[in-house]
């Protein structure tokens, strides 16, 4: 049996929010029973946008990540509801029956991803429904995928074996995998949210001032073990990415045959730009 999954590439999200807006466009003022009651006009984002800023000072990067109901294969909300009012369709999509869940505000807190909204007016918990109502009318993709200008989102209909293969082949990740909820929304390049970098600028003295050193070798060590190596670019900058948060103290060693060496120690909490290190 083929089931739906969504793959989102964090590196391709341009923060246009078309996914957020298309979801509102689809659901505000529109009842699609028995899939979902209409979304309230204000204050609801069944698809939401998360932002992660790393670094400081001119070495900063930022990524955006659309988040929504994960349509978990082991959905906490279904267990919490306990009465079948939240159910998983054979195609993998989770639906909160807008009639049977009426009055169940308690369901909102069952989701560890905070993906459930409470519709005060209609007294129902609500989620992004993977546009099941459109899929059932033979639409090839949900609105968010169709509206995405960079193909950062992809909806696929695959069996479990193929999905497993894709996840491994493309290093896809899910949010909070430790919870065992088995989301069907996968992310590519999620390390831009989860990992850290150490960056810096390598300079040498130059006629009373400084000049950027192109081609300096920078090594990052944890204890005596080399973790990574980089070569500075034309602006003397280096950026070593993929480090874990709160992963302890690192030593940064820079070296250039003409200009000498420089060292620094970093206690890595989150991403860190060290500023200029002067070779001597």
């Amino acid at each position: 049996m083929k089931k739906w999954a969504l793959i989102i590439d964090v590196a391709k999200c341009v923060n246009c929010n078309n996914c957020v807006v298309s979801c509102r466009d689809e659901h505000v003022d529109n009842d699609f029973l028995p899939y979902a009651a209409a979304q309230p006009r204000k204050g609801h984002s069944w698809i939401d946008m998360h932002r992660k800023i790393r670094g400081n000072g001119p070495m900063v990067d930022v990524s955006y990540m659309p988040v929504m109901c994960n349509h978990c294969d082991n959905a906490p909300c279904m267990k919490f509801a306990g009465d079948g009012s939240i159910y998983k369709r054979p195609d993998g999509i989770v639906i909160m029956d807008p009639i049977r869940t009426k009055g169940r505000q308690d369901i909102v807190r069952s989701c560890p991803y905070k993906a459930i909204s409470w519709n005060e007016e209609r007294q129902v918990p609500q989620i992004w429904i993977f546009d099941a109502h459109l899929i059932d009318q033979k639409w090839k993709q949900p609105r968010c995928v169709q509206s995405c200008p960079t193909e950062a989102m992809q909806a696929i209909l695959v069996d479990d074996v193929e999905l497993k293969r894709l996840v491994a082949a493309e290093s896809l990740e899910v949010r909070k995998p430790e919870l065992g909820t088995r989301p069907r929304v996968f992310y590519r390049n999620m390390n831009r949210f989860t990992k850290c970098f150490i960056g810096g600028n390598i300079v040498a003295a130059h006629s009373g001032g400084q000049e950027n050193v192109n081609g300096a070798v920078v090594r990052v060590l944890s204890g005596r073990t080399q973790v990574a190596e980089a070569i500075t670019d034309a602006f003397g900058d280096f950026k070593i990415d993929g480090l874990d948060r709160d992963s302890g103290t690192y030593t940064v060693e820079a070296q250039h045959n003409l200009y000498g060496t420089a060292n620094a120690a970093v206690s890595l909490g989150s991403s860190s730009y060290l500023g200029s290190l002067v070779l001597t």
Partner: protein, 991 residues
Amino acid sequence: MKNTALKGLLLALPLILKSAAGKYPSVKEKIRQGGNRVVQIGLKNGSVVRHLVFGAGGIASKPGRHPSPDVTIIFKDAATALAMMKPGADRSVIIDAAKNFKVVVKGKDKWISWFMQLMGLVETAPWKYGMPSPDGTIRYTTNSNGGPLFVYVRNGKILRVTPITLEDDDAASWSIQARGRKFTPLRKATVSPHALSIKSSVYSEKRLLYPMKRVDFDPNGERNTQNRGKSGYVRISWDEALDIVAGEISRMKTQYGPGAITIFHPAHHQWGNIGYWLSALLRFGNFIGFTRMGFSPVSWEGWYWGAAHHFGNSLRLGLPGFYGTVEDCLKEAEQIVFWSSDPESTGGLYAAFEATQRRMWAKELGIDFIHIDPHLNNTAQFFGGKWIPIRPGTDPALAIAIMHEWIVNGLYDKKYVAERTNGFEEWRDYVLGVNDGIPKTPEWQEAETGVPAKDVRSLATQWGSKKTYLAAGGLGAGWGGACRSATGSQWARCMILMMAMQGWGKPGVNFGNLQFAAPLDHHFYFPGYTEGGISGELTWSASSINNYCRMPHVLTMNPVKQVLPRQRLPEAILDGKCTWHAWDGSSLEAQFAPVEYPMKGYSPIHMLYRYGSSSLGTMPHSARLIEAYRHPSLEFIVNQSIFMEGEAQFADVILPACTFLERWDIGEWANCGGFLQHNQDQLNHRIFVLQHKCIEPLGESKSDYQIFMDVLERLGTGFMFSEGCSELAWCKRIFDSSDLPKKISWKEFLKKGYYVLPPEEETARDPVDMRWFAEGRSKDVPEMNPLPAGYAEEFGKGLQTQSGKIEFVSKTLARAEPDNPERPALNRYIPQWEGPNIKEIASRFPLQLLSAHPSFTFHTYGDEEDSFLSGIQDHRIEVGGFHYRVIRVSPDDAKTRGIGQHDLVRVFNDRGAVLFAADVSPLIAPGVTKAYTSCAQFDLVSTPKGPVDRGGCINLLTPGRTLEKGTEGIAPNSCMVELEKWEPALMEAAQ
């Protein structure tokens, strides 16, 4: 013989009308609206005369004259009558007859218009449009400032809108081969978020749904102009509203004479060729006579007032061209320097995310990106690359220091400079400090810009040794916050000089950021909005070039020659006069002569016909408007607006206009005609859209076209305005005037709603812009720029400058303004007049404010507080039940002021105070704060700290001064402010 045929036709008319009424409810309704009418039709010599009698008894055709017909139509001869009255009559015959009095119409305009519209309806009523779906919805099409859309309608209500995904039977896409890769664009039309949220605008609580009058405004008594913006409104009927407006128009003309009425409109409008301001509004204005609003190219300031004087292109607002540069950049360039360039925020201009994927290809090919901007803007955020933050308004100092490094290190194209430019020696001496003793070194600029000298050296070396595309401004060439500051002209001039030093036009060396110049077909004609649509205005639109030749229609002309510049409306009202410089792209010199308001012989303005409500959000130092709007000399303000927003609240009478989804229009995506010729080159496919009337107008709102016709009906010119056409009939006329009928039938276009044009053949693509110049050949790109007389020597040889070369020292400026210290012919660095360098300002207001074109709205469109866009974290954030606009603050500046993420802040200077929600992040340089301009909401609240606008109109704070003497350029990015945390208790204490 022809007389007999005419008699037969007139005899048969009742049958034709009755038959149509039986089939089409709209025809039946139109006949009913007429009531008891008599329409007499005959020949001038009296040989044929019959009259049609409409009434309860039906329609009858009776012989001879009627003693008191409502409408009398007199034809010169039977041939003219038959040619005009036959179904699908040739418009050129009709226009010829009208212009040369071969047909004369008499009667009350209301009934003439009614009969003409009825006859037109008989033709258009059978037309079927839209694509029915199995689920009961009908899929229509529309076109917006942010891309074309499918509009799904059920039971007369918009269900959803979606982007248009191209089908297999739509034209194929182009491909570009570069460095062993083949790139083909996505098979869809991308859209901006403000396009995708259009349903929320249509059904916004801010919609004006019926005509209103200010409660304390009495056109025959006390007008209470001092209460504008304070007193509320009372609903009135359309008849009352239109009678007041038409009455005031007549009163102005009789009491004050020509010129007393002015029409002010936004620069942009909802998409199309019929309803656009350059179309229906100009046509309307010409029928009443009005003081025209004078434009300044406000988004391109530094280019038009500065850059053009070194290389020409005045017809392009001083912007460099772009042809062929996507292919050249992908094949040849090694890096792109984005300087004040953020195409991802605005989708270029009208182009959604069409160019985003082309920039993604450049990244895939390993082309380096460098971003010079005080803000790690959306483009820099998405693509990464070296970020060089710079103090706003100091950009020319950095540019000059880079050129210094090129000169001292020999990193420039000496042969190109020798052969294609002049004045370099004088420029070189300035840069090296030969005369002033100040070499413009990287250290010299560091004190100004805050950019470390070492980074300038690295940048100069990179740039001087790699094939570099310069993205100067969001469009690749044009726009950019740096061009909208006190030094905007200096900066844009530097951009031209830098490119001249690097061999502009050689492979891999050009302006651009892949925003423009997809390899499209440039030969296929379809009008863009500046081509005047139905205006018939041959002087103040580009109609005469193609549109007027191709679509026979009645020309119109404004007898009032007085012009009032957009930026100077407050001075004109408060001081009664102003002097300014007009935009005229036909030559480099046209901008120099000052223009005076009022113009000799004309009345100063006493009536404002305001169209839309965007000025408070978009005009620098817009706080000036408030006093102006309350001035007693402005006796009447009518606002024809869609939304109750901005300055709509300052009107005496409000006329509710409907959105473009509630009326007919037709347009090509992103085609704005002469403002930016081939602006569609930003797109991956040329797409032409019939903008269906998707739903009926909400409430009592009406289309702009209908409102104009209704006003003119009271002044006797409604039937001339309409030429008997409905908006749909005009769409057909535009369609017929274009190249579209060669590709798709009207019937199919009505149904499907769009057509995709195949791209230019790969072997016939247009050459790269400026390649001809670099290689010393004649111009070979498809634009008539400059005008033939604009070439100094032979047609096609050289540029528009006096010397035909790139002039390091502008001969035009030297000739026109030898004594203007603010715009010298040699482009010296002159620090800005408002900035951290001006201590008495900076000591009180220490932060530099940037106000950029908005990312999530199109100017004010889409900024209704209840829009689907509200709540998007980079646009409006909900705090205490209200969606506040966001302002970006650096962590350092936030910390010293005790401001946390999403705290409310009061941003202020001597000009005013505005509330925002703070977005605290290292994405903005310390000392700088940035908000988007073009707020739609003006919500002034009295508080213990004085009045504050919580809507978010940042332009209340920006300076109204022109960027340089002798120009009309705005400089909102030279603005100092302070911000402080705003305690919600202060709002509770507010009135």
